[in-house]
């Protein structure tokens, strides 16, 4: 069985960084520490663990940062090598567990990948886990498992980019309702991040909210904000035409190019401007890019005492924080998921995400599926997704017939430079 394995290899890590800088995002794979190799299925770590065979596994922005050697060194001690990436996973339970409410073999599940205190067997759990905020777990490097923020970054659990499967704790599995397709289901994890961010944004009715970035996370955040909050205006900055169309269809009141976003926010918030800095601005700005430039823009667009929610994963950035200090802006991160309180009711973020996915039919954001053997193309496609009119690129890990037919499905046809059309080497997706 095959899996993409990421090893600790500093020279290759550096090479991937250079390759990505030269050739673009997602192009670090051929020279980096990621390799396709034969692996054995991971061992079940305990009685409440299940073996899950991935069906679809998404490629996330943080995965690309890892493959391209751009992820922050902050994470070094929070992962364990070698690991199999892939934390956006819809799969099928193969074995494990037991008990009356245990998912039966064959159950279609999505995996909440954060490995908090409960999967790690830590008792009592940390405060965050005790409150259900598993994304805030303080012990992701402790317990009976190797360090790892999530499945997909832990040497013991495997990850989604594998035909050998992964292991997940009972607390990490959510049965996928029948009315959600596999494409819908693979969008649940990123949508859960978006749901958490949308609720963390503390949007008040009547607020002006700006979303910067319209990749998968940006679009899912727009959908979540549209469903879960009631801003007066939701303005989105999207670079590419397809992203702009999708942002509008997902609930943005106004969609402009990123360069026009400050102007749109200024007009919607009816503020003045002073040398590129709005005097007022948006009540909430959600940064789904996570770069120095995007943070600068957020600071220029947010009103005094407003809130910036950082959803896109940043690394080291150089930003002038004088406006943050002077205007008493709250800058907060929004990582992962856990439990959310909506209208006084506590629900798991994943459950809310399923509702958002269903309402907005977010499976439509899946633009191309690749067999794992063509991971280099898949990663390159993911790295250039916006430019190529795509959003979410996934690995298709279903068992395929041996015939090496290059038939292209409707989805591949929709993406003109999609996998099967351009390099018809693999089996149908």
């Amino acid at each position: 069985m095959k899996a993409l394995v990421f090893e600790r290899n500093l020279p290759r890590f550096a090479a991937s960084r250079v390759a990505a800088m030269v050739a673009g995002s997602g192009r670090g794979a051929p020279v980096g520490p990621l390799r396709l190799t034969d692996v054995d299925p991971p061992v079940l770590p305990g009685p409440d663990w299940y073996r899950v065979r991935p069906v679809l596994a998404g490629i996330c922005g943080s995965d690309l940062a890892t493959v391209d050697g751009k992820s922050s060194r902050y994470f070094e001690e929070l992962v364990s090598f070698p690991f199999v990436p892939g934390h956006e996973v819809v799969g099928v339970v193969e074995e494990g567990g037991g008990g009356p409410d245990a998912p039966a073999a064959g159950t279609r599940v999505v995996v909440e990948p954060v490995i908090g205190c409960i999967p790690r067997g830590i008792t009592p759990p940390c405060d965050a886990c005790a409150e259900g905020r598993t994304g805030g777990c303080e012990r992701v490097a402790y317990g009976h498992l190797s360090p790892g923020l999530q499945i997909g970054y832990c040497a013991d659990t495997g990850g989604g980019w594998s035909t050998a499967g992964l292991v997940a704790h009972r607390s990490q599995l959510y049965e996928v309702p029948d009315d959600l397709s596999d494409d819908d289901a693979v969008m649940i994890e990123p949508t859960a991040c978006a749901v958490h961010a949308a609720l963390d944004a503390e949007v008040d009715p009547g607020d002006v909210v700006a979303v910067l970035g319209a990749g998968t996370l940006g679009l899912a955040t727009i959908a979540a904000l549209a469903t879960l909050t009631t801003p007066a205006t939701l303005v989105a900055g999207a670079k590419h035409p397809q992203q702009r169309r999708l942002a509008a269809s997902l609930g943005a009141d106004e969609v402009v190019t990123p360069s026009q976003l400050p102007r749109a926010v200024r007009r919607r918030s009816r503020s003045l401007a002073n040398a590129g800095q709005l005097t007022g601005g948006a009540d909430v700005v959600v940064d789904c890019v996570g770069s120095a430039d995007s943070l600068r823009e957020c600071l220029a667009m947010v009103r005094p005492r407003g809130r910036i929610v950082l959803v896109g994963m940043p690394g080291q950035v150089h930003v002038d924080l004088a406006p943050l200090w002077h205007r008493e802006v709250a800058l907060t991160g929004a990582y992962a998921y856990g439990a959310e309180t909506v209208d006084g009711t506590v629900r798991r973020t994943f459950e809310i995400a399923m509702d958002v996915v269903r309402e907005h039919k977010l499976g439509r954001l899946v633009s191309a599926r690749y067999p794992i053997e063509r991971y280099e193309e898949a990663l390159a496609h993911a790295g250039a997704a916006g430019r190529r009119g795509a959003v979410k690129i996934v690995f298709d890990l279903r068992a395929r017939p041996p015939r090496a037919d290059a038939a292209s499905g409707p989805r591949a046809r929709r993406d003109r430079r999609g996998p099967t059309r351009r390099t018809p080497k693999g089996p149908p997706s």
Binding site: E254, V256, Q260, R263, A264, R267, R270, S271, L272
Partner: protein
């Protein structure tokens, strides 16, 4: 020799290529045989002694107005309002007509012992003029006598203390104008009537008005019912202004209107070929054309723009009349028609026109895509009396590079209109829902009042100006336009005139008739 009237040329195989403006350049295009080219009349002879003519007009007013000296008395409050930088085009050589008229009025005021005199640039919602522009319009002597003493004002439609609401017309239209003008014992308005749309009651009712007032006639519905807005008798724009003007008079505001007309001697010697008929070009004209077009082609666009905006027109005054507004304007309109009207028989399937680098709203500025649309579909399309030159469902072909470029200081709300409104809709009737938010935007208001920015609502007016044409035309094609900008406007783009004609045939059918509106000089087609 008296100037030759305008005429319609039928293109045949021997007709030389026709000159088209193309923004800051010009090109020669060979039109298909059988096409018509409408040429304007040659410039009318100017007044031999404009100063004497002005004095005569002030002393011999039209209508029921008394001569100006009889209206002036010591201790009175006198306000002199004048047309702003949008007129004339291009700006005329010194002395500007406004300077000549204002100096005469001031001499009479001084002779009458009046010391409370204020000059107001009647900007409406246009940008404030710069010192250089004011000096150019009024002359240094007037500027230096008034500006340092804060007696030279620029109309501020957003000054809550500076405006006064005079009630509503019998149609319920708010009439709100400049307080100083309204509360003066006499308001003298100094006008330049470049096209038939200008002047009359529009001078005060628009030039000194507020958004609250302007919105009653500066809207899509009014413009669709103005056919054309260059023909005041068939223009809802004018009907509304006339109602307001009469209401202003009935409210006790005493207006002494002074209107002037200019001939169409538009460009100086080095660009003289622009207004000559192509088959009459001399060797010198050809050399000038080649030299000028080649130089502008090789010049960086910004510099080319600077050069062209530096052109001062040799326009000369052909008439001046003063007195009661309507009587004055009737005479003015006659003179404008005498200079610009060209009889044209029948409409055409395709109308072509080359658009120059300048329109009323980009003097010393950038001709952004919205202004391109306004110049073509607003101004030039409406230069008709009777029927539009192009038939219903016909095609308008514009020649202009339409760069996706805006002057951020002059046209800040245009940028947002282009990016945030035209991306949603190009329907003039539908954009109205955004109007209020632009009109009341505090940032635009701040820039209008303190900088040199057009008012936030102004791009809407430009688009409303296009409303009649947009409703009438089957398609608009821009030759050589920036692809993205042209598409944003809702138009089609062609690389060449031949391509544009091919595209137009898809709309109007094979063997279409084609008419070219030759400009300069400005002309107005009298279509029967």
């Amino acid at each position: 020799m008296s100037p030759r009237p305008g005429f319609v040329l039928e293109v045949d195989r021997s007709t030389p290529p026709t000159l088209f403006w193309h923004g800051e350049q010009f090109v020669l295009e060979r039109l298909p045989a059988g096409s018509r080219v409408v040429y304007g009349p040659e410039p009318l002879a100017p007044l031999a002694d404009p100063v004497a003519a002005i004095r005569h007009a002030l002393l011999h007013p039209l209508g029921d107005a008394a001569p100006l000296p009889a209206l002036l008395r010591p201790g009175m409050r006198l306000t002199i309002a004048f047309d702003d930088v949008s007129l004339p085009l291009p700006p005329m050589r010194r002395p500007d007509v406004r300077q000549l008229v204002v100096e005469q009025v001031l001499e009479l005021a001084a002779a009458a012992g009046i010391d409370d005199v204020v000059l107001i640039a009647a900007l409406a919602l246009h940008r404030r003029m710069t010192e250089a522009e004011l000096r150019h319009a009024l002359g240094d002597r007037v500027y230096d006598a008034f500006a340092p003493h804060d007696l030279l004002w620029q109309h501020d439609a957003e000054d809550p203390d500076g405006m006064v609401h005079l009630g509503v017309t019998d149609q319920g239209e708010d009439v709100e104008i400049n307080r100083r003008a309204a509360e003066s014992d006499l308001l003298v308005y100094v006008n330049i009537n470049l096209v038939a749309m200008d002047g009359g009651h529009k001078s005060v009712a628009t030039g000194l008005a507020s958004y609250r007032s302007l919105r009653h006639h500066h809207n899509a519905r009014t413009m669709q019912h103005s056919r054309s807005f260059m023909d005041q008798h068939r223009s809802e724009l004018h009907s509304s202004n006339w109602r307001m003007g009469r209401h202003i008079a009935a409210s006790g505001v005493k207006v002494f209107q002074i209107e002037t007309t200019l001939n169409t001697d538009t460009f100086p010697e080095q660009f003289r070929f622009l207004q000559r008929r192509e088959w009459e070009w001399t060797v010198r004209d050809r050399a000038s054309f080649l030299g000028a077009s080649r130089s502008l082609e090789l010049t960086p666009p910004r510099l080319a723009r600077q050069i062209l905006h530096g052109v001062r027109s040799p326009h000369r005054m052909t008439s001046v009349q003063a007195g009661e507004v309507e009587a004055v304007h009737a005479r003015t309109t006659e003179r404008v028609y005498a200079q610009q009207l060209v009889p044209v028989e029948g409409q055409t399937d395709i109308l072509t026109m080359g658009l120059p680098y300048i329109c009323p709203y980009n003097v010393n500025s950038v001709m952004n895509p919205i202004l391109v649309a306004c110049l073509g579909l607003g101004y030039f399309f409406n230069m008709y009396r009777g029927e539009p030159l192009v038939r219903q469902g016909g095609v308008l072909i514009l020649h202009h590079p339409t760069p996706n470029e805006f002057h951020p200081g002059h046209h800040p709300s245009y940028i947002d209109f282009f990016e945030q409104v035209l991306t949603e809709t190009t329907d003039p009737l539908s954009i109205g829902k955004y109007e209020e938010s632009f009109a009341t935007d505090p940032w635009y208001i701040h820039l209008y009042r303190t900088g040199h920015a057009y008012h936030g609502v102004h791009p809407f007016y430009m688009w409303y100006w296009c409303a009649h044409a947009l409703e009438h035309l089957g398609a608009v094609i821009v030759v050589g336009g920036d692809r993205e900008a042209v598409h944003r406007l809702g138009f089609r783009r062609a690389s060449t005139l031949a391509d544009a004609l091919e595209m137009a045939r898809d709309v109007v059918g094979p063997d279409p008739t084609l008419t070219h509106l030759h400009s300069p000089p400005l002309l107005m087609a009298d279509v029967t």
